[in-house]
């Protein structure tokens, strides 16, 4: 959607250039003896679906001289009074245009000018069209449907857990190790380092890190260990403080809490890394947790942590950084496990229920993959047409992003 509107914007800008060109030319046009290119034909304007009633889609049949004698097309618009103004232009070989920022409910018609070396040839005007708006984007029915199923499953499982049904969740190694790692730091009398990635609160991985922080800080408070949390965004600092404070309060030790546990360093990626590296070798934390969005710093941090002999647990959803964590850390939460961690650690049946719902989503994905691949393979190996139809119309119909 965004790309589309950007493209249109550029074409509009383009149009200004071309229009200027066209307006400079009329004198040449009259004087020259050369014939004009054939005009475009069958100009049609249609309401753009699923917008807020500001767009009309104009299309036409290319000039027969296209592309040899044609530079491009100018789009002229009239508000029903036969006074046509140029609103944009496109290159040759293109035969559609989206006119944006119209007034909903008003009637417009269009005319296409074909630009040749010697001038502009005008087409017949189109029938009038009215931009209209729709309340629901029906094109996204598939996303709504699958989304509804999965969200519904998550919520249904949450309620069934609330009603007291026992739900089984397997053990996740990295998360089981978490408490042990905090315990070890306590025994050694050394602090725990918590790095929530380098992104701000508008990244879901940071959100996941903050929800996990709540559980970790609770264990830290119970064990009476020390937590250090340098962060690279001010908003993350604020949220982290609230979270840690709450954990200490619910552990019944509000006096042990201090605002200095979470503090802002700098937004600059490598400046932050430089400071954390220094902190690590000076304070020698016994446990380092890297949970959130990480980039190139993943290996710098985890190698430094390794050099001071810390237990390291990492988690991120970025596939490009996972191998570095896998290589240098003791445990790594891979993608989905990062988001499941806080529910798992809470042990609260309702939250565990949401993990069950997530699993149902996986079942949907797996069934889709099996059916889709089977259909595609049968279709291509034995030319079974019905399979091809099933794949194209049903499977790809559902799993396509409009």
């Amino acid at each position: 959607m965004r790309i589309a509107s950007f493209g249109i914007f550029i074409l509009l800008v383009f149009g200004c250039g071309l229009t200027a060109l066209a307006q400079d030319d009329p004198i040449d046009m009259v004087e020259s003896e050369i014939v004009l290119p054939a005009p475009a034909s069958k100009v049609i304007a249609l309401n753009h679906k699923y917008d807020i009633g500001e767009i009309l889609d104009v299309s036409w049949e290319s000039s027969t001289s296209d592309p040899e004698l044609v530079f491009g097309y100018i789009i002229y618009r009239s508000e029903g009074d036969n006074k046509f103004d140029s609103v944009g232009a496109v290159l040759s070989k293109i035969n559609s245009f989206s006119d944006e920022e119209l007034i909903p409910g008003k009637s417009y018609n269009y005319q296409i000018g074909t630009i040749g070396a010697s001038g502009v040839a005008l087409s017949e005007p189109s029938e009038p069209a009215i931009p209209d708006w729709e309340l629901f984007n029906l094109e996204m029915w598939n996303i709504a449907l699958i989304g509804f199923i999965i969200c519904g499953a998550v919520i249904a499982y949450i309620f069934s857990a609330k009603a007291g049904r026992k739900l089984f969740i397997r053990k996740i190694g990295g998360l089981e190790a978490l408490e042990e790692a905090v315990g070890r730091a306590t025994e050694m009398g050394r602090p725990i380092l918590f790095i929530p990635g380098i992104q701000d609160m508008d990244d879901v991985q940071t959100l996941a890190a903050i929800t996990i922080l709540g559980k970790v800080a609770r264990v830290v408070a119970d064990y009476d260990s020390k937590i250090m949390m340098p962060v690279s965004r001010s908003l993350v600092m604020t949220s982290a403080r609230e979270t840690i404070k709450e954990a200490y309060l619910s552990a019944g030790r509000p006096d042990a809490y201090s605002d200095d546990m979470a503090y802002y360093v700098t937004d600059e990626q490598f400046g932050y890394v430089a400071a954390v590296n220094g902190l690590m070798v000076r304070e020698k934390p016994a446990t380092c947790l890297y949970l959130g969005a990480f980039f190139a710093e993943s290996l710098i941090l985890s190698e430094t942590g390794n050099s001071i002999g810390a237990i390291q647990i990492a988690g991120t959803a970025r596939p490009g950084q996972l191998p570095f964590f896998v290589a240098a850390c003791d445990y790594t939460l891979i993608g989905e496990e990062l988001f499941a961690a806080s529910a798992y650690l809470s042990g609260d049946p309702k939250q565990l229920g949401s993990l069950k719902g997530q699993d149902l989503g996986k079942v949907v994905a797996m069934v889709a993959i099996v059916l889709g691949t089977l259909a595609a393979t049968l279709a291509s190996a034995w030319d079974i047409e019905i399979m091809q139809k099933f794949l194209d119309n049903v499977m790809l119909g559902i799993f396509s992003n409009h």
């Binding site: 550029i10 800008v13 190698e303």
Partner: protein, 331 residues
């Protein structure tokens, strides 16, 4: 500060000062010294291997030191690497050398300083060749730092032949022999609009001179006035976008230089004939330097990079061989 720390730091300072004020510039090892250094690095690996097998893995600082040495020492070696010219780089050179003097060449610099070690040598060699053969060069960038990199390559050409500097005998006049259009935001849309008119995207050059006042640009309206395009690219927007728009829509003959990471993505276009040749990574740059005869940093860098790559591969191998030998013994 502890004693060892003091000793180490003073040693480093002394070494650096010797480098700065006493050593001949540029510093070059004789073939004998180069061989000895290489053998010493080899011996270091042998020692590391033996120690690791014995169950005494070396400290990370030794690893760092070895990598550092592997990166730095080749700078000063004069080793002739057997550089085999690959067909795709030959293609670039063939196209370039077929152009007559006065040809108008568009050079797009789409990279930033972190990728410069790989791409700058290509750009430098190109610029030297272009000045030597009197091409008219139009430089631009789709990356903000691109135009600065372009200027660096001009400076490299000046350093190669001071006669090209301003107010010299054979001066290359800015605005007549070359021009830097600067950076324009908008990624592929910049190329799209340049297809219609360069001026619409670059109303003025990097130094705020109006497009029409630059003599070189007088008769250049769009890609159809350009004889050859070359793109130095480290990612997106880069070669792929140039091919899709400038080559496919406007038939601009074009070659490209890519970072090693980026190059695989450009190969399909090379195979389909949309790109006339491709220089990939440091190796591609070194081949290009060899072809143009303007040996520069790529050949030096290539040696460093090769040494460092071999070092990493050796480290992985040593770690694993030692691990297996130890496991066998335990059994």
């Amino acid at each position: 500060m502890k004693r060892t720390e003091l000793v180490v730091s003073s040693l480093i300072v002394v070494a650096l000062m010797i480098c700065k004020f006493l050593l001949p510039k540029p510093l070059l090892f004789s073939p004998l010294v180069s061989t000895i250094v290489t053998i010493l690095i080899g011996c270091a690996f042998l020692v590391i291997f033996i120690l690791t097998v014995k169950g005494k893995p070396i400290e990370r600082r030794i690893v760092f030191l070895v990598v550092g040495i592997a990166l730095v020492f080749p700078f000063f070696m004069k080793v002739e690497l057997p550089i085999r010219i690959s067909p795709e780089v030959q293609q670039v050179y063939d196209k370039m050398s077929s152009l007559p003097a006065g040809s108008k060449v568009l050079a797009a610099f789409d990279y930033d300083p972190p990728s410069a070690p790989e791409l700058q040598p290509m750009a430098d060699a190109f610029m030297k060749y272009a000045f030597e053969h009197d091409f008219k060069v139009i430089m631009m960038g789709l990356w903000p730092q691109g135009p600065q990199q372009a200027n660096q390559s001009v400076e490299a050409a000046w350093a190669y032949n001071p006669q090209w500097m301003p107010d010299s005998a054979d001066e290359k006049v800015y605005g007549v022999d070359y021009v830097n259009l600067g950076f324009q935001s908008g990624n592929e849309f910049v190329i799209l609009r340049m297809g219609e008119s360069f001026k619409s995207m670059f109303p003025a050059d990097l130094y705020y001179t109006a497009y029409d006042s630059v003599p070189l640009l007088k008769n250049i309206h769009n890609f159809s006035n350009i004889d050859w395009g070359v793109n130095f690219s480290a990612g997106k927007p880069g070669t792929v976008e140039w091919v899709q728009i400038a080559v496919d829509r406007h038939n601009l003959p074009m070659s490209a230089g890519n970072t090693a990471v980026q190059a695989p993505m450009a190969y399909p276009y090379l195979n389909a004939g949309q790109l006339i040749g491709l220089m990939g990574g440091m190796a591609g740059a070194a081949e290009f330097e060899k072809l143009t005869g303007h040996t520069g940093k790529a050949i030096t860098f290539l040696l460093s990079q090769t040494y460092a790559h071999v070092a990493v591969i050796l480290f992985i191998l040593i770690g694993n061989v030692a691990f297996f030998l130890n496991k066998k013994e335990k059994k």
